[in-house]
């Protein structure tokens, strides 16, 4: 049995995983006042950042300097990787560990920052304790681990999307997955023709790394890629992986091909890839020395499916409520990257930020409050005066990282009740707000328009019905202008003040 805090026993809440999702949630649960156990199969904090990305820096950025102080909450809008902390001296830890050579942190810098967060925020975990089984007993959950059994009312799985996933393409099971390349260096691809199955960031990450060594690189998948600099959102390839894409455009030794892979077979010492063109029809055959599957990852759910947890996205993600609770097994929650299974409003098809730390760290903050509420801990709801409401919301629109990193997903909500007055309800998921009746209230969110430009939207609930109001764009995203003040006051007319007769 491993040594450390949180020995096997009876707890209100058990959190599994000490990647950024688990660390953030544990820190927030402590803040809310929820006693819990935090378990990890690893030997220390960091989760996937103890292993990934394989070759490169992260593809989420952290500014080291911004127009707001590093110790302010507003700085998180510019720092996509640091975990959130109320204490100013514990904020923006990732920039503290970055050496200034790049604004994408190295994996080691990220891992160091996560370790520092756990230490400074006092997040204690039982390391070396692996979750192995789950069952229900008298309405509670029993988690079997290598150290013994944990009984709890609520179990939260912050286990990342770390299980290699392959589509059922014949032969694809024979070739190494991205996950299998651990310990391999780029030089080992010297002079080789390499076919990479996939065109997501992990595909471009490998291609970019081996570009100086490989003789030829082919990236193949059915979809036509549209780089992030074209779409305006983080679609692959990201700007930092564009060298391979540019080499393809310039007719170099790299090819980015739109094709459906039909099968992969051995061909002497190498491989033969059979494919069918999608954008340009036609049969394609590639003879190469190596094939790598960069076909993504799924959530390592263990036996949770047998417990009744349903999944979608080819069994890779659990179906979830807006508070990231299993939609079929109440009391089972998810944190971290798996929360991308809850898509929010998904306006114009643009994703929210839940696939990366910059987004899911805010989910953990919201989730901890919700778990506290389930256990009888009601959150603070600060009262606002009539004169404070509009400036407060416009300041939120300008500075609140949760809104900017979780577009069309998380909202700042203010309620208007004749008995209770005007209350700041906090940051909450926007979908329950727009999909349920309730008291008069307004929800402020950042959204993306059809061209990918960010805009502000206010959802107003009156008489149980919710209406949508788009606000005009703001110069340099600063909404604290007289024009926006007047516009928002007009939208909230009759809620903040009685309508003018």
């Amino acid at each position: 049995m491993s040594q450390g805090p949180h020995p096997p026993g009876d707890y209100k809440v058990v959190v599994v995983g000490t990647g950024p999702g688990g660390l953030q949630l544990s820190s927030e649960l402590t803040k809310v006042g929820v006693p819990h156990a935090l378990l990890s199969q690893d030997e220390g904090p960091g989760g996937m950042f103890r292993r990934f990305p394989l070759f490169h820096r992260l593809n989420t950025s952290s500014r080291r300097f911004a127009v707001v102080p590093r110790e302010s909450m507003a700085f998180y809008r510019y720092d996509w990787n640091s975990l959130i902390n109320e204490a100013p001296e514990q904020r923006a830890l990732v920039p503290e560990f970055m050496d200034g050579l790049h604004y994408f942190p190295r994996r080691s810098e990220m891992a160091d920052a996560l370790g520092a967060f756990a230490e400074r925020a006092g997040v204690e975990a039982r390391y070396g304790c692996r979750w192995e089984s789950t069952r229900e007993d008298a309405g509670r959950f029993v988690l079997g681990t290598t150290d013994g059994e944990y009984t709890c009312d609520i179990a939260v799985f912050a286990i990342g999307m770390s299980e290699p996933w392959r589509p059922p393409t014949p032969g694809l099971e024979l070739v190494p997955h991205y996950d299998d390349l651990k310990g391999r260096d780029a030089q080992s691809f010297q002079g080789k023709r390499v076919f990479i199955v996939g065109k997501r960031n992990s595909a471009f990450e490998i291609a970019d790394e081996i570009l100086p060594w490989a003789a030829q690189i082919v990236l193949g998948s059915p979809h036509h890629v549209r780089p992030s600099i074209v779409t305006g959102v983080p679609t692959p390839p990201r700007a930092r992986y564009l060298e391979v894409f540019e080499d393809h455009c310039f007719g170099g030794g790299s090819f980015v091909v739109d094709c459906a892979i039909e099968r992969i077979e051995r061909n002497g010492d190498g491989w033969r890839v059979h494919a069918e063109g999608t954008t340009e029809p036609g049969t394609m055959v590639f003879d190469v020395d190596e094939v790598i599957a960069t076909t993504g990852f799924g959530t390592p759910l263990g036996d949770l499916r047998e417990l009744g947890v349903t999944t979608f996205y080819k069994d890779r993600l659990p179906t979830q409520t807006p508070y990231w609770e299993s939609s079929t097994v109440p009391g089972i929650f998810f944190a971290g990257a798996a929360t991308q299974g809850q898509v929010g409003l998904r306006k114009y098809g643009f994703p929210n930020g839940s696939a990366s730390v910059g987004g899911f760290r805010y989910n953990a903050v919201v989730q901890a409050v919700e778990i506290g509420r389930r256990l009888g801990i009601e959150p603070d709801r600060p009262e606002l005066s009539e004169d404070e409401v509009v400036p407060f919301l416009l300041d939120q629109a300008t500075n609140e990282g949760a809104l900017w990193r979780q577009p069309a997903h998380l909202a700042r909500i203010v309620s208007f009740d004749s008995a209770e007055g005007i209350r700041d309800e906090g940051i909450l998921p926007v979908t329950p707000f727009v999909d349920s009746a309730g008291p008069a209230a307004a929800a402020l969110v950042v959204e993306t328009d059809p061209e990918g430009k960010l805009q502000l939207c206010v959802y107003v609930r009156r008489g149980g019905r919710v209406s949508e109001h788009l606000l005009p764009p703001a110069f340099m995203h600063d909404f604290r202008t007289p024009e926006h003040h007047a516009e928002l006051e007009s939208v909230l007319a009759g809620l903040v003040r009685e309508p003018v007769a």
Binding site: P222, H223, G277, G296, F312, L345, Y348, D435
Partner: protein, 152 residues
């Protein structure tokens, strides 16, 4: 969540995509995003912009206007069962074609799994796959010609 999914073989039995080759299905599968809705959740929201073109893979959904179930009374003057959307049915296309907020809610009646295309991608998608555009046109015509048989 990830924007590209591998759902080609799910699409093979959908009438709308019946004329596409396996390779085209693969590509279509990656152009759409798979989404999941729990019973009672709105897959399309009345009065809101930005909703996509949805094709149902599994489950059933109801049409509601101002919170009231839509049945075929509106088009036939005969009171019948509520309209129920099922596997292979689609919704959201009129809102996109007319470029206006949705005029109705579509609410999951059971666990509902759809593939969704962002509104701004529908026009280029249909021009890229004229066979799908023709199938879509057939479906719209069928709804207009015979609303009583609209629900298969």
């Amino acid at each position: 969540m990830a924007s590209q999914t591998d759902i080609a073989h799910d699409l093979a039995g959908i009438t709308l995509f019946a004329d596409l080759s396996p390779a085209q299905l693969d590509k279509v599968g990656q152009a759409f995003e798979e989404q999941w809705f729990q019973p009672g959740e709105r897959a399309q929201r009345q009065g809101f912009v930005g909703s996509g073109f949805h094709v149902i893979l599994d489950g059933e959904a109801e049409w509601r206007i101002d919170g009231e179930l839509v049945d075929r009374t509106a088009t036939t003057l005969i009171t019948t069962r509520p309209l129920l959307l099922k596997r292979g049915d689609w919704f959201g296309e009129l809102t996109i074609l007319f470029n206006e907020p949705s005029i109705s809610d579509v609410v999951a009646a059971t666990p509902l799994r759809c593939i969704v295309l962002p509104p701004q991608d529908l026009e280029p998608f249909l021009f890229g796959y004229p066979q799908v555009m023709y199938r879509l046109l057939l479906g719209e015509a069928r709804r207009l010609r015979d609303p009583l048989r609209w629900q298969r």
